[in-house]
C-alpha cells in the first residue's frame, strides 16, 4: 500500500514540481497517472521507491516512511520500469541482465537461476537467454527490462510510459500481461499519456496538472469528462468522442469500451427501425 500525504517537492534548481499531493494506492489496485508533460507524474512516482524524497509531507510504502529508508531497501517492494530500456541494459547476456538486480539484493545463486528461468518464460524471452540485449529489437529490449524488474517479484510495479514507441500488437500484449499481473494481486501504477491504452484497460485514473491532483476516479468517469481532460491537455478516447458527437441522442455519457459502444448503438439502431 502506498500512502502519500500532502507531499511537496522542489528540484534543486528551485522548480516546485509537486504542490501538495495526497494519494492512497491500495494493494492490488491498478492506477494510471495521467497528465501533460511537466504535470509532475514522473516526479510523483519517483517518490514511491525513494528515488526522490519529499521536501515536505510524507510518503509511506507498506508502512515504511520513504525518507527513512534507502532506494535499495524500498526497491525490493517497488519495481520501477523506466520508459527507455536502453537506460538500464548493460550486460553481455539477457540472463546477466536479469540477474543484476537479484545479485544486488543478495539472492543465492540457485534462487537466481530459478528466478531467471521464471522471468524469461513469463515474457517469452527463453530463446534469447544467452543473447546480448543490444542485439534484440526495441520491443524485445523493453521486455528484457520488464523481466529484469519482475524477476525479484516486487509487490508494487511502477511503469513509466510503457507504451511509447510500441505498435498495436505490442500494446495488446502488454495490456494482457498487465491484466495477468493484476489477477496475481500485484499493485500496478502506470504513468502514461496514452489515452487509448488507458481506455482499453479501464483502471483507476489519477489526473495531474501543474503539480497537483485535479481528478481521481474510475477510467470510465474521468476519460469521458471532456472539460476535465481539456484542462489536463488530454484528448478524449475515440469511443468517447463518438458519443460526444451523439450527445443529442440520449446515450449514457460514460462509454469508453468498444463492445459496450457496439451494443448500445445496435440497440438504438434496431429500435429506430421498428
Amino acid at each position: 500500500m502506498i500512502v502519500v500525504e500532502d507531499v511537496r517537492f522542489s528540484y534543486p534548481g528551485g522548480v516546485e514540481a509537486l504542490k501538495g499531493v495526497s494519494l492512497t494506492v491500495k494493494n492490488g489496485e491498478f492506477v494510471a497517472i495521467m497528465g501533460q508533460n511537466g504535470a509532475g507524474k514522473t516526479t510523483l512516482v519517483k517518490h514511491f521507491n525513494g528515488l526522490l524524497k519529499p521536501t515536505s509531507g510524507v510518503v509511506r510504502v507498506n508502512g515504511v516512511e520513504t525518507s527513512r529508508s534507502s532506494v535499495a531497501a524500498l526497491a525490493r517492494n517497488v519495481g520501477f520500469v523506466f520508459q527507455n530500456p536502453d537506460h538500464q541494459l548493460f550486460c553481455e547476456t539477457v540472463d546477466d541482465e536479469i540477474a543484476f538486480a537479484l545479485k544486488n539484493f543478495g539472492y543465492e545463486q540457485t534462487v537466481i537461476e530459478k528466478r531467471i528461468t521464471w522471468a524469461v518464460n513469463l515474457l517469452g524471452l527463453s530463446q534469447y537467454r544467452k543473447t546480448s540485449p543490444f542485439m534484440l529489437s526495441g520491443g524485445e529490449r523493453k521486455r528484457v527490462a520488464l523481466a529484469s524488474v519482475l524477476a525479484w517479484d516486487p509487490q508494487i510495479l511502477v511503469l513509466d510510459e510503457p507504451t511509447i514507441g510500441q505498435d498495436h500488437r505490442q500494446k495488446e500484449n502488454l495490456r494482457q500481461f498487465i491484466m495477468q499481473l493484476q489477477t496475481q494481486g500485484k499493485t500496478i501504477v502506470m504513468v502514461t499519456h496514452d489515452v487509448e491504452f488507458v481506455a482499453e484497460c479501464n483502471p483507476r485514473v489519477v489526473l495531474m496538472r501543474e503539480g497537483k491532483i485535479m481528478a481521481d476516479g474510475q477510467g470510465k468517469q474521468i476519460l469521458t469528462n471532456s472539460e476535465l481532460l481539456e484542462q489536463a491537455s488530454i484528448v478524449l478516447p475515440q469511443v468517447a468522442q463518438i458519443f460526444k458527437h451523439l450527445i443529442t441522442q440520449g446515450f449514457p455519457l460514460n462509454i469508453i469500451d468498444i463492445y459496450e459502444a457496439k451494443n448500445l448503438l445496435m440497440e438504438k439502431l434496431e429500435k429506430n427501425k421498428t
Binding site: Q36, G165, H168, S233, I234, Q238, H245, A261, K273
Partner: protein, 281 residues
C-alpha cells in the same frame, strides 16, 4: 509522372543476413498525403531512408531495384543533393537539432547550401511562421517541449523548400494533444503548399483522416497499397496487427450485425457519429 516511384526495391543492411525490405514497388503522386504503417520492424523506416539516399549512401549495404524521387535516381545522387528535394523529419526531436537557437537551427540546411543572408532570413522567417513557432525563434532547444522541438525540425526541413517531406514517427515521444497539433501542421502544409507528405505512423486513429493514400507493410513487404477507406475496411489488416481507428472497427462490427449504415467506411469518430445520426433520422 509519380514523384516517388520504386520498382522491385530490395535492401539488406551491411551486417544483416536477410533483406529489410523486399521487392517494393510503389508510386506516390505529387501532392499526396501518404501514410505508411505496419508493425515494428516491418521495414517502413528502411523504406523511407531510400527516399533521400541515406540508403545506400550513409548506411552502405546492398540496394537492388530502381528508385526515382523527384525525377532523380536516389540511389545514385548523394544525400546532400537529395536533401534539396526531400526533407526528412526523424522520430526523436532531441537528436536532430544541433544549434543553440531555433532560428539558427532552421537556417542550418540553408547555410550548408550556401544561401546568401537576405534570402536565408526570408526563408527562415517564412518556415517559422508556417509552423507557428516564430515567437520562439530565439529560444534554445532545451527550453522547449518535445512538441515544439519537433516543429522546429519540421520548419528546418521546410526552409529548404523541398517537394516532399518524409516524417518517420514524428510524434511517438509526444502526448496525444501535441501529436495532434503536429499532424495539423503537416496537413496544413500538404493543403496550402501542395507539399507531398510521407508519414510513417502507428497511430492511425489520429492520422487516417488526413491521408489519401495508405501503404501497409509487414516483414519487409507491401501488404496493402491504396485508398484508406478501402484498405482499412479489409479484414486482413487486422490480422497483421495494424491498429486501425476505433471508429472504423466499430463501423465494421455494426455492419456485421446487420446495422443499416451508409457504405463509406468512416475513418474518424466524427464521420461515424454523422453516419449514426443519419441512420437515426
Amino acid at each position: 509522372m509519380p514523384i516517388i516511384e520504386t520498382k522491385n526495391l530490395s535492401y539488406t543492411y551491411p551486417s544483416a543476413s536477410r533483406p529489410s525490405i523486399q521487392d517494393i514497388s510503389i508510386k506516390v503522386e505529387k501532392g499526396e498525403f501518404v501514410l505508411i504503417t505496419g508493425p515494428s520492424g516491418c521495414g517502413k523506416t528502411t523504406l523511407c531512408r531510400t527516399f533521400n539516399g541515406l540508403i545506400p549512401h550513409f548506411y552502405q549495404g546492398e540496394l537492388k531495384g530502381e528508385i526515382t524521387v523527384a525525377g532523380k535516381n536516389a540511389a545514385k545522387q548523394p544525400t546532400m543533393e537529395m536533401a534539396k528535394h526531400v526533407g526528412m523529419v526523424f522520430q526523436n526531436p532531441e537528436n536532430q537539432l544541433f544549434a543553440l537557437s531555433v532560428e539558427k537551427d532552421v537556417a542550418f540546411g540553408l547555410e550548408n547550401l550556401g544561401f546568401d543572408r537576405k534570402e536565408m532570413r526570408e526563408r527562415v522567417n517564412w518556415a517559422l511562421k508556417l509552423t507557428g513557432i516564430y515567437d520562439l525563434r530565439e529560444r534554445s532547444p532545451h527550453e522547449m517541449s518535445g512538441g515544439q522541438q519537433q516543429r522546429v525540425a519540421i520548419a528546418a526541413v521546410l526552409a529548404m523548400q523541398p517537394e516532399i517531406i518524409v516524417l518517420d514517427e514524428p510524434t511517438s515521444f509526444l502526448d496525444p494533444l501535441s501529436a495532434e497539433k503536429i499532424f495539423e501542421v503537416i496537413y496544413d502544409l500538404n493543403q496550402k503548399l501542395g507539399l507531398t507528405v510521407v508519414l510513417v505512423e502507428h497511430r492511425l486513429d489520429l492520422t487516417a483522416k488526413y491521408a489519401n493514400h495508405i501503404i501497409i507493410m509487414d516483414e519487409g513487404k507491401i501488404c496493402f497499397d491504396g485508398k484508406p477507406r478501402e484498405v482499412l475496411s479489409k479484414q486482413e489488416t487486422r490480422l497483421i496487427g495494424v491498429g486501425i481507428p476505433k471508429a472504423t472497427l466499430l463501423y465494421e462490427m455494426l455492419k456485421k450485425e446487420g446495422a443499416k449504415l451508409g457504405n463509406t467506411t468512416p475513418l474518424c469518430s466524427k464521420e461515424l457519429a454523422d453516419m449514426v445520426q443519419e441512420a437515426l433520422k
